[in-house]
Symmetry: C2
Amino acid sequence: MRILLTNDDGINAPGLAALADEMSGHGEVIIYAPVSEMSAVGHAITLSDPLRVVEFHKNGRLFGHAVRGTPADCVKIATWVLNRQDRKPDILISGINLGSNTGINTIYSGTVSAATEGAIFGIPAIAISLASFTSRDFSVAAQFAPVVARHLLANPLPPGVFLNVNVPAVPKEAVQGIAITRQGFTNYIEEYEVRRDPHDREYYWLTGEKMEVETNSDIDDRAIIENRISITPIQLDLTCYPALSQLRNWRITF
Amino acid sequence: MRILLTNDDGINAPGLAALADEMSGHGEVIIYAPVSEMSAVGHAITLSDPLRVVEFHKNGRLFGHAVRGTPADCVKIATWVLNRQDRKPDILISGINLGSNTGINTIYSGTVSAATEGAIFGIPAIAISLASFTSRDFSVAAQFAPVVARHLLANPLPPGVFLNVNVPAVPKEAVQGIAITRQGFTNYIEEYEVRRDPHDREYYWLTGEKMEVETNSDIDDRAIIENRISITPIQLDLTCYPALSQLRNWRITF
């Protein structure tokens, strides 16, 4: 099995190292990840600038390829290189992200966007995140990655569909099972902090607090609060089908 | 009516000027747009850096606010500023983009991401694009913007749903009507061009050709080819609902 790994926290992030360690017991691991942190880049790609790719060594050996670009760039260039070598990946795993990617955050997530890019290329894809900004213990999420990968490969999803996995930051024995969830609408209540720079010019810095989580038990954020692993199937097709007939009834003329 | 405008081609782009000209006949126009071109930034937001906002003058008068950030940043900061002034916008229009935002491109689009951000804030939102990379005539798209805006305000869509409008680059009399469409899967066949810089280091540049467009007449790209205006309702919820029961049948244990 050929396993392509990427992330949005950067090639030197501990979550990627934990994932690579675990997955190396299950196949050939190939890593293309951003040189530096690329959180909240959404599904950005680099068009107007050249892309740089350099080998990245760790502990005296080749760990992967560092890309001066976004997570989606990493998947694009990796897929292009591997296809030319007739080494198409069997699966793509993006993560392990430090911090959950649930609710509205799913839309901003670089981790999820890499899996989106995998789905565009027809590669079975998983985004996996640890629901903590402070934990350094990625072991439970890392152990879960091959479990969900095995199920995904045995049961292919429809074209353009991939998995968004979020793992609670608790010891394995405290995990209260696995929840198949939908993306909720939990968001941050955002504020800008207004500051002045040393040249007395104003600037703004985004801050925010997570709003109350929805109570429905099949919502991604709710599952995490209940210490369950959340798995949400995500699709590339953004069309709101129920609205189609509503719009047709508008009978717009122009 | 208070109309918030933004785009991803930058505050000085002719498509935004055409939209502002047209909409100023329908209400108070407020512009927050990126300082420079921000195409294919997806739903990126600026978290790790401060945001700069400066007044942007054109022809000797204030045109709008130039934001050193992404289209989503523009909508966030504009909404925050306007809410504090008790001047919440009635509608958000993002565009007019130079180049269509259809098929898989919808996912990469900064123009669409600004409308997404509007929908997150509960503002009726429209992304509007001209299906040409070379035309400089935004007049038909500009004239259509208030038409679709009026319908949207009269017939609110469900929360988290907004409109992605693409206008063919033809004279008004050649427009073959309006199509309510779904997002297709038309994509680019991508290649990287490998080059060497003056220091003999390798770099890559993304290139691509649009693949054949799907033939189904209710697909966004198809409508454009048939010189119809395409309107696709887009939703924030990325969940693939039909896959939920499939995943529950996996009965994953961990």
